[in-house]
Subunit: 216 residues, 2 copies
């Protein structure tokens, strides 16, 4: 399958390398083709890896991951182009963290709206699924790293078929046993509003290698 990774940070490179390892062809997109981190990632990941602009990657991928920072996500989606992502699944991993007011970051949008919903409105023809935004990226792609995979990943979106596809990737490719479907994309508010306690827990536990398990 052809995969677009939008964003060149640690989340994007981790997800991109995992998709390469699974046998997919992956194109990493950034604001401008030839981005230094994207080129380095391509060099490290072999013939199935390529890079380009956000639009290049979006046009290439049959499925896309939004791994841009929250403050840049909407501009990145605009640059990727609604037409290039039309009809495709976009897995939105981003969080609207606002570092402009100091540490810890606050959220730039929350409560009655979410970044996931803003992205869906910017890409009306795309099937946005919010997932994987509530854990460290090492864990996203390998749930078994913690407690043998016995923790939970949240997911929401407006398209049932898209969520079925994403749940398949989460379970089969990334090892998640407990995929919790929270319903439509308004649940992205709750998924993103976990971040403030997640950041506190990171400080408390002194490691990002932890996760929520929903016990019921």
């Amino acid at each position: 399958m052809h995969i677009a990774i939008l964003g060149t940070g640690m989340v994007g490179s981790t997800l991109g390398s995992k998709m390469i390892a699974l046998g997919h062809k992956v194109r990493m997109g950034s604001r401008t083709a030839g981005n230094e981190k994207a080129v380095a990632w391509v060099n490290a990941n072999g013939a199935n890896a390529s890079q380009g602009s956000f639009a290049d990657a979006a046009a290439f991928g049959e499925l896309a991951f939004n791994c841009t920072s929250g403050s840049g996500s909407l501009a990145a989606m605009e640059a990727a182009g609604p037409a290039n992502l039309k009809g495709k699944i976009l897995i939105d991993v981003s969080n609207p963290l606002d570092f402009s007011k100091g540490m810890p970051p606050s959220l730039s949008v929350c409560n009655t709206d979410s970044l996931g919903e803003q992205i869906q409105r910017a890409l009306p023809g795309t099937r946005v699924v919010k997932a994987l935004n509530t854990m460290a990226c090492t864990l996203m792609i390998d749930a078994g790293l913690l407690a043998g995979g016995d923790t939970s990943v949240f997911m929401c979106g407006n398209d049932a078929g898209a969520k079925e596809t994403v749940a398949g990737i989460l379970k089969k490719d990334f090892g998640w046993k407990d995929v919790v479907d929270l319903g439509d994309l308004t649940a992205a508010r709750g998924q993103e509003m976990i971040l403030p306690i997640w950041l506190r827990l990171w400080g408390t536990f002194k490691t990002p290698n932890f996760n929520f398990k929903m016990v019921r």
Copy 2:
């Protein structure tokens, strides 16, 4: 010990009855003495139970629980009186749920402030500890109801001694094995911002009998 329960709803009556069962004397406070629900609770809980105004209860208790609805909490604390609660521990169980804009509720304060911090500012001489706001009240007082007690309760506050006392109640009296101290009261933002996903999970699981377990 003398305990004040501020609020006459399900959370207040559940916590109040538990404190009675543990051998404490409990006074339930509401806006006006003689509140119908408070009187019914007293009648059901025997000689160690009493009721009165918020100020009556606050003056009576050596330790207080804020179990008022979020929209009424600040007015209730003002009515209880900073002088009546001076030097005492207040366990703040409330959530700033705003039902005025329809369902699901949004939060009336979040992100860069919290109800817990607002209450602390309203009661500068009181040692506010935010705890127990992230689960159903049946579970608050009996952690063993779910998974043999193998889930987590969050706590934060500015006074280390107060948190030690509260952790003791949580562990010894309510059966919590994993009390996660998130640090100072600014962590109340994160604890309260869990509510939106908690409400979605309630809808997803079709039961409030669930909880977060922090796996690390």
